[in-house]
């Protein structure tokens, strides 16, 4: 189920640094009703203020992390990493600032089939796309969920406490071994796919991680959904900037046909990154 997108000026409730490059933004989004796990919004850092500001020019795509009830709208949370100029400027947002919000956008993660084990594999900023999926799968009757979170180091990991408070099983993997298992998040994934015959994979993170998750799932004959993070200008299907190569030729639009895509339809060889 998807929800019609809004274009609205959201108000910053709080911007908070959470260690490493991680930041959390809480926005009040007037008129916002609901979203489905995996959907995203386009946020314009700095566009809206006493004077319009065009640096940075383009809005930034960000997963909707979660939303809380509120009157006449909802409070929307976004978890992000400071990466380049846009996110660095977003990190300067303070309570009371306004941020243009266009969303929810894109196709969400499909629900896990009854009885299946949902393996949610997140790396880097991709972790933010999985929280709501974990929460809803946990709440759904009959589904089982396990979350695999990867990062370079423990300090880089996003949102761990939130996932843990859901009461789902969380496996943490860091490249430097500073938290949880040492290695790549796809290593426990490989073990679990070997052990669990009724698993379904949901992956979001760096392209090499998703490529590997897709290959492991395909090798084991398991379904795999990935959520791609491509550069976007519009987020709603008109610029054709977010194209990802489709298996068999041509392209899909990540913002319109995704961001969640069946891993089988992605041409992993031609996908950059």
């Amino acid at each position: 189920m998807t929800h019609p997108p809004l274009r609205v000026d959201a108000r910053v409730r709080e911007g908070r640094a959470e260690g490493g490059a991680n930041h959390r933004l809480r926005l009040f989004v007037p008129g916002f009703e609901a979203f489905a796990p995996g959907q995203f919004a386009m946020l314009s850092p700095g566009a809206v203020g006493a004077a319009e500001r065009f640096d940075p020019l383009l809005p930034r795509p960000m997963a909707i992390y979660r939303a809380h009830g509120a009157d006449g709208g909802r409070e929307v949370e976004v978890l992000y990493k400071v990466h380049g100029r846009g996110t660095a400027l977003l990190a300067q947002a303070r309570a009371g600032d306004r941020v243009r919000f266009v969303g929810p956008l894109g196709r969400p993660f499909p629900e896990a089939p009854r009885g299946a084990l949902a393996l949610l594999v997140g790396g880097g900023t991709g972790v933010a796309s999985l929280y709501e999926l974990a929460a809803r799968t946990r709440a759904a009757s009959g589904a089982r969920v396990r979350v695999l979170l990867g990062a370079r180091s423990g300090a880089d990991l996003m949102g761990l406490a939130d996932f843990e408070s859901l009461g789902v099983e969380v496996v943490v993997v860091t490249e430097d071994g500073s938290l949880g298992e040492k290695g790549l998040v796809t290593e426990p994934l490989e073990r679990m796919l070997g052990a669990e015959s009724d698993a379904i994979v949901y992956a979001c993170g760096p392209t090499p991680m998703m490529r590997r998750a897709a290959a492991l799932a395909a090798a084991g004959g398991r379904r795999c959904w990935v959520s791609l993070e491509n550069p976007m200008a519009c987020g709603y299907g008109v610029c054709l900037g977010c194209a990802a190569p489709r298996a068999g030729g041509g392209f899909v639009l990540v913002c319109r046909d995704g961001p969640v895509l069946d891993a089988d339809i992605v041409d992993w060889e031609r996908l950059a990154g």
Partner: protein, 306 residues
């Protein structure tokens, strides 16, 4: 109290207000349905259409620069037939639709124009002249007066619909190109398309865009666009549709003052899907505040100090 008269005539296309959307920045219009009633606009210009569907360039296709963006989409489009069959009927009949046309040879352009002319829903065609002419090894039709003349002549024969020619800004003299188009029977000119540009990733030492070169759009190019519109408007007497970095009503009014009969909003729609509608409303409000009853009276009123 009746509002100001915003209607303009763009080379035979009657527009309820002077604000259109620019080709390639508004899809086929249908994508905007959740955000904007397209009847708030003067009209829309479609993504450039080719004879056959095209799938476009490998990513990365877009990048941000300061005050602008680069794109090298590679003219991905559904093709003229699918457009006529699937996209056009989905639009409300009151929406004025200008079809943008693209090809690598004159014959292709002409053929697309002919097919478009079979539909009464197509109010006009806009020839995208910023396309590499295959036989001339990459030079754009719009960069060479002789190629441009051949192109306009060819499409003029193929359609009796209002014919707009969209000019490339990557030229020494925009006035010369404008004059060529007028001479070959164009009904109006659209300008400008994107400025040819390049950006580089210092870490990888590669171009940011996979296609190496891309087109620069957005507010960064607005002063160049205003200059070219002004120069072209002094060289020809056919109407001009001004394009380039229009972000708000004030920007649009600048183009009208410099001689544009109408404007197209491009990159601004990415930042805000309602931008073109807001700009049309903003022009109406401005005219009302100023007591201007006909917006067409504003066109070309730039006052040059003595």
């Amino acid at each position: 109290m009746s509002g100001p008269d915003l209607s303009v005539d763009l080379g035979g296309i009657a527009l309820r207000n002077p604000v259109l959307t620019a080709s390639g920045t508004f899809g086929y219009g249908t994508e905007l349905a959740p955000f904007l009633d397209l009847r708030r606009l003067g009209g829309i210009v479609t993504k450039s259409l080719t004879l056959e569907p095209r799938s476009g360039n490998l990513p990365r296709r877009i990048a941000e620069t300061q005050g602008g963006m680069l794109n090298a989409i590679g003219l991905e489009n559904v093709g003229v037939d699918a457009f006529l069959r699937e996209k056009l009927p989905a639009l409300h009949p009151d929406v004025v639709v200008v079809a943008s046309v693209f090809g690598t040879e004159v014959e292709q352009y002409a053929e697309v124009c002919e097919r478009l002319s079979t539909s009464t829903r197509v109010a006009g065609v806009e020839i995208n002249a910023s396309c590499p002419h295959v036989k001339s090894g990459g030079i754009e039709f719009g960069q060479n007066p002789r190629l441009l003349a051949d192109l306009v002549r060819g499409v003029r024969r193929a359609t009796s619909r209002p014919l707009l020619v969209k000019l490339s800004p990557n030229v020494t003299s925009i006035a010369e190109m404008a004059t060529v188009c007028e001479g070959e029977g164009a009904d109006a000119l659209s300008l400008i398309n994107t400025l040819q540009a390049l950006d580089v990733d210092v870490e990888t030492r590669r171009p940011v865009l996979r296609n190496v070169l891309g087109g620069l759009s957005g507010p960064a190019i607005r002063p160049v666009a205003l200059r070219m519109v002004w120069q072209a408007s002094r060289a020809v007497s056919i109407p001009i549709c001004g394009i380039g970095g229009i972000m708000n009503a004030e920007d649009a009014l600048k183009f009208l003052i410099c001689g544009a009969t109408a404007v197209q909003v491009g990159t601004a729609s990415y930042l805000d899907p309602t931008a073109a509608g807001e700009i049309a409303d903003g022009i109406a409000q401005w005219a009302r505040r100023r007591g201007i009853s006909r917006i067409a009276d504003l066109v070309g009123t730039l006052e040059i100090p003595g």
